[in-house]
Symmetry: D2
Subunit: 301 residues, 4 copies
């Protein structure tokens, strides 16, 4: 587990002191507050704060004076309508703040989502811990032969062992050098902002990441997807669970209209219409490229 | 007061049902929740929700496992340091959601601040109310003769009366026409999305507006400023009071380092240095344009 | 036509002085530069500047040292792949700047797209012209009886005439009052920033609007759509033509994968799969709500 | 120099084929187009494209039909006024696209500026080159003893040599392992997206980075500052030179009102006023904290 006893005590202390508020409260989310969900070998995700719930989406869509909800069923219908018709602004009215501990190469993908607020632990200011991501054997995948940015089979036997040994040894050696360069006993000690350049991309960093629900769902659509790199998907999967507990109606609509939805190109829609009419459709008469046709067949047979 | 009894009842009902939460709570802000602060003749500002407090700024700056605060005094020092050195990201970790009722011409200025989330009452979907901003006599200002976008003296006597009469009569007549065009008795009735084009810019609209603390402070710096148009400043002034109650340390730092701070150009800083050394500085030897020199003298004599 | 002879002369002058550049040039876009395309009765759209072309999208996607293009065919395949798989950042590498003259109620919809740069003509600083949008008879639509924010039949006969009369008369009277309030002969004259509040939402304003290609396409998807209000769609339609001439491959991919694409919910995709397998699908066994089922049938029969 | 002959040939080829355009042209910027400016040991910055010039800022501020410029002197006055009074939107009307090659730890600081468009070379898709940043001896600084995130003296003698040896050896060993893990001869070969996690933060990456002038100047204010880490400042300094050649009036205003300006807190402004009046001001009677007082004295004596 990636927490020290001191850190666990800090978390426990925050969970023992409920206070009164007049704000909207999501019971499902209160259960998650501060709790560290483990991800990968040393990573974590936990909720630090949140604003709003399913009802808050409807309240904003209706620009209400009061709660703005009519009934749970009525609200769910409105939420599904908003999601289906790409009305994104009411979903921006909920906000969540996470504390995430993650390898640097995952952080580099994650930060490409610009519509969020971030405070990262600073390697200029502080000394990083000796914690590195080493993949579990079942995630040690070969390069895909079809897909330039994909994974193939899981590595086996001696090759798998060699990779794990190299990753571990290089991480340890790089960290030893980092410490040796920083060391101020008998020498000046290199500046932290320089020494950190020796650390590999599987070292763990951490940040506070705050985002509205609309942009969170966009992040989850891309990163909880089967084409996303496994290591970031591991975070996105847990954040999906958290979001479902926070705003169940919005998450349900997201699953139906985004995550498990199918986007048909003009050509693909036409091909389906013709198939439904009994026509035999081929790549040629569908007007698709070879790659697109393969993707179409993978979904529709 | 701009509320109907039904609206006031909805607000009262929300204020009578406190719930338990594990989140950070700002007592100063709980007192504001849902309460409608009147602005102008029919406008209002009220807080619908908020996330975080002064301690949350420090917690994010330190990427903490627990509350992240050391002592109130220590936290205030950190907040002032962050503000002084333009570290904006920790201030983005607090968020607030307002319900605002405001004239359309104010809304048009306001919306230029893009880093916020907005849901506005829709004149395509709903019928707008017959409520118009008519300036109080003391805000009925003449065009400034010096400043193309400024105000001069307050209008007096017959001229003031004529202006008020024109504003009131045109508003009423425009709204009468709006109703007549919408009317479906004995005729089809014009589409709402078309009829609204007849309404003048002093009609009231309303929206939910959600923003992080950093961007809120930027908004307040520009809109609670003496160069801002009075009507938007009236909103900004009340939002300053609310923000002070929400995050007193951050607001204090904002006042000292932004709102009441003075930005000296390279030339102005040099001029002050020379004055401190006893030199007589003129527009010519300071290297400033005429307008800039007037602005400099207005501050420094 | 919405241009004065002086304005037309300024445009002509800009089109007569080509200069040399080493930048990427889109011949299709050079033909549009500065030319005013009329929209509605007094509105216009014209291109002031642009950056990049189809090849620039590929160059960025490949992070190239040179032009980064391989062949036109190869580039088009890459562009279609990027669009199909939601790789948005290469499309952000093209930029365009428009000058738009438009009614205020259209501007209020338009400005909700926040990821753009805007400079609007200022009614605080300058006096607005006496130009109002009055719908052509064929666009004078009744309120839809099904859709709260939609249009029904076109108004006919006396009702149509009454609406046009009211719109024209109220616009003229409001503008007369605006001028009377501003007038400085024999009186002080009301401040411009106040007088403008009397002007209705069909008065024309104008702005410079700059946006990257990705966000422009998002705007066009929502605003050139059949559910968009006619008056903003009139602008979007012309901007579609301009964009097609500027980046033909990107626009073609946009049409196939966005504009003319169909988004199937999880339930709808399942219903289609079952139909293809010969099953009879009903609203009940498809698990859709009544409204969603109607939308599904409208597309798929 | 960080270019291969093939890359240099691609650049030369782009510079030999001028074309005609009707767009605004900045001669100072045409000279920079495509040319690679070396930064650090293997890095570079070069301009790929740009939109607008000084006149375009004025044209947008005036929402002009034609060029919108009156005279060069008049335009410069307007630009200085806009900068002095924080009118940022006209500066957003210019845009620039850079190709940058930079160490990963610099890229991680740089990407925190969110209002920009980025396409980075992908280590998921491609194999990174064996190029690492190794500081020149004069930039091998010790940790500052006063400032947690600052540098002290330059390391000397044996310590400097040890640091350079460690950085070089660890980089080479990490890259050797990277190649060994990727190798597909006699083994499957690890997926690229996994192998890259072994590479240290001083490896070079590259990206296309596109930004508007307002946000570029904000970036330069923070990153060409003496408190910025030397390695990112090296990039910012060259980008300052480029920007000066592109928009000389805007850059001049930026230097006077931002870069070389002094922001006085309310307390500091008051202290200066009292000093000018002949009073002796101390930390106590100025109401400043110890650290703030030191900062004040550093500037004003």
């Amino acid at each position: 587990m990636p927490l020290t006893p001191e850190q666990q005590a800090e978390i426990d202390s925050q969970r023992t002191t409920p206070r009164q508020t007049l704000r909207a409260v999501s019971e499902g989310m209160e259960n998650h507050l501060y709790v560290a969900h483990q991800v990968l070998d040393h990573g974590l995700v936990r909720v630090i704060d949140y604003m709003g719930d399913d009802a808050a989406i409807c309240q904003a869509a209706r620009v209400s004076y009061g709660k703005g909800t009519k009934s749970v069923q009525n609200d769910e219908g409105l939420i599904r309508y908003l999601m289906r018709h790409w009305h994104s602004t009411p979903f921006e009215m909920c906000e969540v703040k996470f504390h995430v501990k993650l390898p640097v190469f995952v952080a580099r993908q994650w930060i490409r989502h610009r519509t969020a607020n971030v405070n990262e632990y600073s390697g200029r200011y502080s000394i990083l811990d000796r914690e590195f991501y080493i993949p579990a054997p079942e995630h040690l995948a070969a390069q895909s032969s079809q897909n330039h940015q994909g994974r193939g089979e899981v590595l086996q036997g001696a090759e798998a062992q060699r990779v794990l040994d190299l990753l571990r040894e290089d991480a340890m050696r790089s960290y030893d050098s980092y410490e040796a360069m920083l060391n101020q006993e008998g020498q000046q000690g290199l500046a932290r902002e320089l020494a950190r350049m020796n650390l590999p991309a599987n070292i763990y960093t951490q940040w506070y990441w705050k985002v509205d629900l609309h942009n969170l769902l966009h992040f989850l659509r891309l990163r909880a997807d089967s084409h996303a790199q496994y290591e970031i998907r591991a975070y996105a999967d847990i954040m999906c669970d958290i979001t479902r507990d926070w705003v169940p109606a919005a998450f349900g609509a997201f699953q139906d209209y985004r995550m498990n939805a199918v986007n048909l190109s003009a050509q693909a829609a036409d091909a389906l219409r013709r198939r439904l009419a009994g026509e035999v459709v081929t790549q040629e008469n569908a007007g698709m490229g070879a790659r697109e046709w393969r993707e179409f067949q993978a979904v529709w047979g």
